[in-house]
């Protein structure tokens, strides 16, 4: 799959932003006044920034409101509905804390639930696609949720929880990579099933329909990052988990240290998301004798 920058930025930023909102929502002693303002500003900026970025790859962003209509069938539509609900509820909760120093606990819990539900709907946009076996697993949701919760804990200053959750996320990431590497072959789709000619012998592509790459090949057959997969996986893991852990363990927890750990974590998640798209093989590639 073509790793569109807008989608990588979107899933990375709004994932961690929604994770942070969830932690703020369940905080028994939430910040109030200016402290609350800065905390919520950061979480909202990440989430909303990500959501806005996601509209950049649309052919017609001016019609984006229509995407709220099909929540009964479409995970993308559900994501839109959930994200607005989460932001609205958390907005009210934040207003209570910032202006009245009054935590309205039920709102916080509902908002936290909606925030995580939004991350889940995002993951399901990818996990629902049978055409991309690497994504088509519940593990994709586990990966997205664990990263959002771990990153959110880090940003919310819950360093103890963050350290444990980073390890959980690392485990989810490793298992997802391992399962993903054999997912396409396990599904059993090849040129034989794609053309229906497999029982007659070996099928190979002789000629593409056109002499130069088309939309389908640009969108679905992406090879550049795959060349360096193992190196990129190690870089992602180091930035996403190892370095933040080292920083949190070695240095005293203050705002600067947490920001440093979070920046490293974000860069790691972005690298992992780049691989998430670039490594994904779509069944269309079969028709072109490629992956």
């Amino acid at each position: 799959m073509h790793p569109a920058a807008s989608v990588i930025i979107f899933t990375t930023l709004s994932g961690i932003g929604l994770g942070m909102l969830a932690w703020l929502g369940i905080d028994p002693t939430p910040p109030t006044g200016w402290a609350a303002f800065w905390n919520f500003l950061l979480a909202f900026a990440l989430t909303v920034g990500g959501l806005i970025s996601s509209t950049f790859h649309l052919g017609h962003p001016e019609r984006a409101l229509k995407a709220f209509t099909q929540w009964r069938t479409s995970w993308l539509s559900r994501e839109g509905v959930c994200s607005v609900a989460a932001l609205s509820v958390m907005g009210l909760y934040a207003a209570g804390l910032v202006f009245f120093a009054k935590p309205i606990a039920p709102l916080g819990y509902i908002g936290a639930g909606l925030s995580l539900l939004t991350v889940y709907t995002t993951s399901m946009i990818y996990a629902q696609l049978a055409t991309i076996p690497r994504w088509n697993t519940p593990l994709t949701s586990v990966l997205y949720l664990s990263l959002a919760i771990a990153g959110g804990a880090l940003l919310a200053g819950r360093t103890g929880a963050a350290m444990a959750l980073l390890l959980v996320a690392a485990g989810a990431q490793l298992i997802w990579w391992m399962k993903g590497d054999t997912a396409f072959a396990d599904r059993g789709s090849d040129l034989g099933t794609a053309t229906g000619l497999g029982d007659r012998g070996e099928v190979r592509s002789l000629a593409h329909p056109h002499t130069s790459p088309n939309y389908l090949m640009r969108e679905f057959v992406y090879v550049v990052a795959r060349k360096h997969v193992q190196k990129l996986r190690i870089i992602a893991m180091l930035l996403m988990v190892a370095l933040p852990l080292l920083i949190l363990v070695a240095l005293p927890a203050n705002l600067f240290v947490i920001a440093l750990a979070a920046a490293s974590h974000l860069a790691g998640v972005a690298t992992s998301r780049w691989l998430f798209f670039a490594e994904a093989e779509h069944t269309v590639g079969i028709y072109y004798g490629m992956r």
């Binding site: 799959m1 790859h57 649309l58 052919g59 017609h60 962003p61 019609r63 984006a64 229509k66 995407a67 709220f68 209509t69 099909q70 009964r72 069938t73 479409s74 995970w75 993308l76 539509s77 839109g80 946009i125 629902q128 696609l129 049978a130 055409t131 991309i132 599904r187 059993g188 789709s189 040129l191 099933t193 794609a194 053309t195 229906g196 000619l197 007659r200 012998g201 070996e202 099928v203 190979r204 592509s205 002789l206 000629a207 593409h208 329909p209 056109h210 130069s212 790459p213 088309n214 939309y215 389908l216 969108e219 679905f220 779509h282 069944t283 269309v284 028709y287 072109y288």
Partner: protein, 259 residues
Amino acid sequence: MTDLPTTTDKKLGLVIDLDTCVGCHACVISCKGWNTENYGAPLSDQRPYGEEPMGTFLNRVHSYEVKAEGQAAQTVHFPKSCLHCENAPCVTVCPTGASYKRKEDGIVLVNEQSCIGCGLCAWACPYGARELDQEEGVMKKCTLCVDRIYNENLPEEDRQPACVRTCPAGARHFGDFADPESNVSILTAERGGMDLMPELDTAPVNKYLPPRLKDSFDDESILAPFLDPVAEETQGFMGWLDKQLSRLPGDTKTQSEDV
């Protein structure tokens, strides 16, 4: 709503005969020609005369080679367009309701006024039947020439998809699969029409007829007996002429004498 209809009254679709397709790409051209100036946004081209030209096509013809152990390789031309699946995964993923499957005839269409160009339906389609037009930013796909098949302004013989109408090899057939007596249902039953990637449970309406098995090198040719010389000896006037000419010197030596 982008719910799929549980059943459709008709199941309009195509039968594509891989045995007779000659790979001429006429269906590709007639499809682009008709659909660029009729239903919806035109099918744009990018850099048509420059480097790496690309464009939107609703139908593309691949070419494959099938090679069985100990047999001659066979070339199969393979036209591919939307299969108008009964379990169309492209429809349910659409966030705006732009993609839909019609209850009356099963055709899968895109309402381009509602399409936001997110591309998720193209991701959900296993066959690469949907292409995002790079100029218009909306999703394009085969409409089964919905603006031809019901069009009473056209002569009756033209009320079929442009690709079917133009195919010089008669490799494409259009009809209603819900009717067991239709041409496409009979062809599918007789020739073992098959689904593409059945393991993905998309239940495609379009069917592909497999190529007929070819002769092998070891087969006894049924034409061989007819190749025997009919008359061993020349007779009549030509026989006399042959004899007289053979008497004269200067005949070219036959190969057997040469060796």
